[in-house]
């Protein structure tokens, strides 16, 4: 009896030869990167390595100077951020961008502006998303009343409202207390189980090693190493980039 070969997970996000310059500074330099469905791809590097810039190019906040970004096979290189969001890419920010003077429930209603569902259904979904990140009890509070860590969870809950298939998380664990950090990790794992794909930027190597299926290491805008967690940990170029000679 022959066994059919396991089908490789499709690439949902493909970056090819991406370049972003700011004047004479090359912030992202010919980066190739793939995220396959249902995986967490980690992106690490020292400060100024170009991680957030790469993320900004992927989701259309910055326009790349060269190279391409494909989302589910569609060329998204020159699309607007909202167009890329409609392809199924959601993101959070290093410094949370909550709508501070709105209640948590209202924060979650913003992404569903064009929804044809009834208000009751949308409120129910928003309440469920908030419950997932332990913020349901605070649903009528303003976002500005939350701690930094809670605001990061609120951003994640807001993403869940429009149900993106690819989630870009920029420093989700920075400045977050250990208990909220565990909650964030649990949410990432839950969403991955549900088939979501992640590109995760973090300085918290413990968390990123735990979560990532594959890691890319950026240094001065270039990918200097990539592979599984163990490969990257022992790569001399990575050790040199982090610790010096």
């Amino acid at each position: 009896m022959s066994v059919a070969p396991a089908k490789a997970a499709p690439t949902v996000l493909g970056v090819r030869g991406l370049v972003k310059r700011f004047g004479g500074l090359v912030a992202v330099d010919r980066v190739d990167l793939d995220v396959t469905q249902g995986t967490v791809v980690g992106l690490i590097g020292i400060n100024g390595a170009g991680k957030t810039t790469l993320m900004n190019c992927i989701n259309g906040i910055y326009r790349a100077d060269a190279g391409s970004v494909h989302v589910h096979g569609t060329d998204a290189t020159h699309m607007t951020p909202h167009g890329i969001a409609h392809l199924g890419v959601g993101r959070t920010f290093q410094v949370p961008r909550s709508f501070n003077r709105m209640t948590l429930i209202d924060n979650l209603m913003v992404p569903v502006l064009d929804s044809s569902r009834s208000d009751d259904e949308l409120f129910e979904q928003a309440a469920a998303c908030l419950a997932q990140v332990d913020l349901y009890e605070l649903r009528h509070n303003h976002a500005e009343e939350l701690s930094g860590g809670q605001q990061k969870l609120l951003e994640l809950a807001r993403l869940m409202m429009f149900d993106p298939s690819i989630i870009l998380l920029d420093e989700p664990f920075a400045g977050v207390n250990p208990s909220l950090c565990r909650l964030m990790i649990a949410q990432v794992e839950r969403l991955r189980e549900a088939g979501k794909s992640f590109l995760l930027v973090s300085h918290d190597l413990t968390s990123i090693y735990r979560l990532s299926d594959r890691i890319y290491v950026l240094n001065q805008g270039e990918v200097i190493a990539q592979g599984g967690v163990d490969d990257v940990k022992s790569d001399p170029r990575v050790i040199e980039a982090y610790l010096g000679n």
């Binding site: 906040i61 909202h82 920010f93 501070n100 709105m102 992404p111």
Partner: protein, 306 residues
């Protein structure tokens, strides 16, 4: 102090204040969502007054009945004008400075167009209400020797105030209870975050521009009810008042602008009653300077919003 005059000043302050509130609120939505300084807002308001004037003189339509037509027409014009003017600004190195200059140019152009069509004369808007005036209250022995005082307000002003209140309630409901309104407030708070959750910011901005234009048109019509004449050169004063109101209320704080408009109207009208006319004009501006010095985030804004 004459009680009748004082109460008249209060009533006038509320009537004018409600109009200032509407001006400030629409400017605030524009500044917040689009990050543009609309120096032509006053001319949009005057255009609204001319719209009411034309409907009345050419078609015999009462300004009050023309109000919905004015709102829809100005919304469509504003929505279309957005795509002609504003997206180009995004390519500028300094969009806010460019918007200031661009809208100043639009302001001059609109004044020129209105002067061309209507000439420089101040024109009366001759509508009528029955009764013409309403006696709000009678104050016994207000002038001594048994002479009663009456607080009399033109019916048109009461109608303008009532319509204004309905519009303000509707606007607040729109901004706080509907999804597009919440999206507009969210865009005021963080434009990038709105884009990355899939909101088309261009369309939202065009809607905000259209809304501000519609409010300006409606304000112009209400202004015709309160001051039944129209001057093509009157826009600059209105724009100035609008900016005072948003500084007082807090930039990016539409409801703050509503409260600040009423406050400014009351102070302006009471100062007119209580002080010599030349000195009275200073009071509003003195408040503006004081707020900038001591509470730059505005009376109703918060420091973090700036």
């Amino acid at each position: 102090m004459n009680t009748v005059l004082l109460i008249n000043g209060l009533v006038g302050g509320i009537v004018f204040g409600a109009i200032y509130a509407l001006i400030g609120c629409s400017l605030n939505v524009l500044c917040g969502v689009l990050r543009i300084i609309n120096f032509a807002h006053g001319e949009f308001v005057i255009a609204g007054t001319f719209f009411a004037y034309v409907l009345l003189t050419a078609l015999g339509i009462h300004p009050l009945l023309g109000l919905p037509v004015c709102a829809v027409t100005f919304f469509i014009a504003g929505y279309a004008l957005y795509f002609v003017l504003i997206p180009r600004l995004a390519r500028s190195d300094e969009p806010e400075t460019s918007s200031f200059l661009l809208m100043f140019g639009v302001s001059l152009m609109l004044v020129a167009v209105m002067l061309w069509i209507f000439e420089a004369d101040i024109r009366p808007v001759n509508f009528s209400f029955d009764p013409i005036n309403v006696t709000l209250m009678t104050i016994p022995d207000a002038y001594g020797e048994g002479r009663h005082g009456r607080v009399v307000v033109p019916t048109a002003r009461i109608v303008a105030l009532a319509v204004n209140a309905v519009i303000i309630i509707g606007l607040t409901w729109f901004l706080y209870r509907t999804l597009p309104g919440k999206a507009m407030r969210a865009a005021i708070m963080n434009r990038d975050a709105v884009q990355v959750v899939g909101i088309n910011v261009q369309r939202l901005s065009a809607a905000a521009f259209g809304l501000a234009a519609a409010l300006a048109g409606v304000t112009g019509t209400l202004l015709a009810l309160v001051v039944p004449s129209v001057d093509p050169n009157g826009g600059a004063d209105i724009t100035l008042i609008g900016f005072i109101v948003i500084v007082l209320g807090g930039l990016g704080h539409p409801v703050g602008a509503l409260a600040a408009g009423i406050l400014f109207g009351l102070v302006e009208q009471l100062a007119t009653v209580l002080m010599p006319q030349a000195a009275a004009q200073m009071v509003g501006f003195m408040i503006l300077v004081a707020v900038i010095f001591f509470r730059p985030q505005g009376l109703f804004g918060r420091a973090a919003l700036r």
